[in-house]
Symmetry: C2
Subunit: 144 residues, 2 copies
């Protein structure tokens, strides 16, 4: 569904959101450990998120990654779009370069609602919301 990169990005953002809430910052090392992801690899991903304004960072001791006050309100759609693009909910299921309402591929109509649903989920789900569910132990990022 999502690329590994995108999976890691979402998981990291949820984790960072929790730390950030308490006004703290967090290092790649800790994030990697807590979301079970390869440290150097997510370092790159976080860099990318920073460059694109989805995340903030500060170098040096007491530095680390953190979220802007408004970032928890950002939607998953923004994250996914940045990393995987929009093909998940806009692309053709059969990979055809031309596939539209006028010129539907054999699976176009079947997947119409699925695409719409995925789009809605991504639009309507916020980082902060996911973090809160995590906090209340309704959901999990790691087996404990």
């Amino acid at each position: 569904m999502f690329s590994k990169t995108c999976e890691y990005a979402i998981r990291a953002l949820i984790y960072i959101a929790g730390i950030s809430k308490r006004g703290a910052k967090v290092s790649v090392k800790e994030i990697a450990r807590e979301i079970d992801a390869p440290e150097h690899f997510i370092a790159k991903i976080l860099q990318d998120l920073c460059k694109n304004g989805l995340l903030l960072s500060l170098k040096g001791p007491t530095g680390g990654f953190y979220l802007d006050k408004n970032s928890p309100q950002r939607s998953l759609a923004e994250v996914v779009k940045l990393i995987d693009g929009e093909k998940l909910y806009r692309g053709c299921a059969l990979g055809l370069p031309v596939c539209s309402e006028n010129m539907p591929c054999p699976l176009h109509n079947q997947f119409k609602n699925v695409r719409r649903d995925i789009y809605n989920i991504l639009q309507n789900t916020q980082i902060g919301e996911l973090q809160e569910q995590l906090e209340s132990k309704l959901v999990f990022l790691k087996r404990e």
Copy 2:
């Protein structure tokens, strides 16, 4: 959504279903041309489908690929399962090794219906059905 391999496989099967209906067989070369896919690559895929009984083939002149009488009734689920496995509708959206009703990842519930819908589409869509829509020009595999 699907791997390229799986996209090609589905496209090829739909095309072959049309030829097969008229009792004919078709060569990789023609399939490749008609579904706009790399010839040598889909040759491998078709080989695989044959090995797994989703497709029949005959060597030599007048040979080629064709479908068994019952194959058009086969579901997309069978094809997808063979090639991509079941992760599309069974895997965790965030790539967690443990993610279930008891131990849901932060996106588990959001994607529950989507997973179910995809599963249903794949189960309920048959190769032959897609071929018929193609035949009646309701859908397309290629811009013409």
